[in-house]
C-alpha cells in the first residue's frame, strides 16, 4: 500500500475526530466514563 493511502487514512481519522468533537461525542464519553461501569466490574 502506498504512502498516499496511509496519509488518506490518517486524514480520514482526523476528520472523524473533528466530526465527533463537533457532534458532542466527548461529552457523551465523559458521561459514560465518569460513572461506575457495572458491566466492567462484573455486576449485572
Amino acid at each position: 500500500m502506498s504512502r498516499r493511502f496511509s496519509i488518506a487514512l490518517i486524514t480520514a481519522g482526523l476528520l472523524l475526530i473533528a466530526l465527533g468533537l463537533c457532534s458532542g461525542d466527548v461529552a457523551r464519553v465523559l458521561i459514560k466514563a465518569q460513572r461506575f461501569c457495572l458491566e466492567c466490574i462484573g455486576i449485572g
Binding site: S2, G13, I17, G20, R28, C37, I41, G42, I43
Partner: protein
C-alpha cells in the same frame, strides 16, 4: 539504550500516566474531571480507580448500546488515526494490559505457539464487540457493552477486583457474572505463563483493529533488499512471525526485536516509501 528497555520504559510510562489518579486507588472513587472525556488509544478500563481517561473500546460499545444507537465518530476517528499512523505499535509499546501480560510471562521462559485457527478468533470478537450492543437489546431498547461485560479481563483486574471487593455497597451486588469474569481473568493469567500475550493473540478487539491497519500504516516494518532469510528475525520474534516474508503481519505488535536481531541491519521501522515493495494481499491476515 536497547529497544527492549526503551519499550519497557514506554509501557511503564503509559500505564502510570493513564492511571495517574493515584488517590483513587486509596479512596476507590473514580476520577471525574474533564480529561475523562478524552479517549486514550489503548485498552485501559475507565472504571479503574486510577484512570484519568476513557477506554476506546468501552466508549465505542457504550455509545452503540444506548438509544439511539450511535457510532462514536470521535472514538472511531481516534482508532483510525492511531492505527493508520503506526498499526499495532500501540499494543507493543503503550498498552498497560500488554505490559501485565509480559510481566506475568516472565514466570516461565518457554512459550508455546498458538494454532493459527485460534488466533483468528479475535476477528470474531471484534465483530461481536461492535455488533452485539446493537443486536441484543434489553428492556427499553438499550444494548450493553457485552465484551466489557462478559470477557474483558482488563476491566476485571483494573475495576472489578478493586471496586467490587473494596466497596461494600458493590460487594453486596457481586454474583455469577463477577465469578464468570474472575474465571476468565484467571484463565488468561494462567495462559500468560505459557503463551505470549494470549489476550492480544486471541481476543482483543482493539488490537485486532490495529492489526488490520498494520499493512496500511504510515510507519511500518520494511525489509531492505539483500535479505538472505537467515531466520534470525523469526527466532527473535516472540510471536514467531516470519518477518522477512511478512513484515507487516496483523499479528505483529511491533516490539521491534526483529530489527535489533537482523545481523545485516536490513529491517527498519520507518515511514513507508511511496510504493512499498513488500507485502501481499494475504499478509493482512497472516
Amino acid at each position: 539504550m536497547l529497544t527492549a528497555s526503551k519499550r519497557r520504559l514506554a509501557q511503564l510510562f503509559a500505564a502510570v500516566l493513564s492511571n495517574s489518579h493515584l488517590s483513587g486507588f486509596l479512596s476507590l472513587n473514580l476520577y471525574q474531571g474533564p480529561l475523562k472525556g478524552l479517549c486514550i488509544p489503548f485498552l485501559n478500563c475507565y472504571s479503574c480507580p486510577g484512570a484519568v481517561a476513557a477506554c476506546p473500546l468501552g466508549s465505542l460499545q457504550s455509545m452503540l448500546a444506548e438509544v439511539p444507537h450511535r457510532l462514536s465518530l470521535y472514538v472511531l476517528g481516534l482508532m483510525t488515526f492511531t492505527g493508520a499512523l503506526a498499526g499495532r505499535f500501540i499494543c507493543g509499546w503503550l498498552c498497560p494490559f500488554g505490559l501485565l501480560q509480559e510481566l506475568v510471562a516472565r514466570v516461565h521462559h518457554r512459550k508455546f505457539p498458538l494454532p493459527k485457527v485460534l488466533t483468528r478468533l479475535k476477528y470474531l470478537f471484534l465483530i461481536l464487540a461492535l455488533a452485539l450492543p446493537v443486536l441484543i437489546l434489553q428492556v427499553g431498547g438499550t444494548g450493553e457493552p457485552y465484551f466489557c461485560k462478559f470477557i474483558c479481563p482488563a476491566g476485571t483486574i483494573e475495576a472489578g477486583l478493586p471496586l467490587g471487593l473494596g466497596r461494600p455497597e458493590l460487594r453486596g451486588l457481586l454474583g455469577g457474572l463477577f465469578l464468570w469474569k474472575a474465571a476468565i481473568l484467571v484463565l488468561f493469567l494462567v495462559a500468560m505463563v505459557f503463551l505470549y500475550r494470549p489476550f492480544c493473540q486471541l481476543a482483543c478487539p482493539l488490537g485486532t483493529f490495529y492489526g488490520l491497519c498494520n499493512r496500511f500504516s504510515l510507519w511500518r516494518l520494511e525489509v531492505a533488499a539483500g535479505c538472505e532469510h537467515c531466520g534470525q528475525c523469526r527466532q527473535s520474534c516472540p510471536l514467531k512471525i516470519p518477518v522477512d516474508l511478512s513484515p507487516n503481519s496483523a499479528e505483529c505488535i511491533r516490539c521491534l526485536l526483529c530489527r535489533d536481531a537482523c545481523p545485516r541491519g536490513l529491517i527498519s521501522f520507518d515511514r513507508c516509501a511511496s510504493v512499498s515493495n513488500h507485502g501481499s494481499t494475504h499478509e493482512m491476515f497472516d
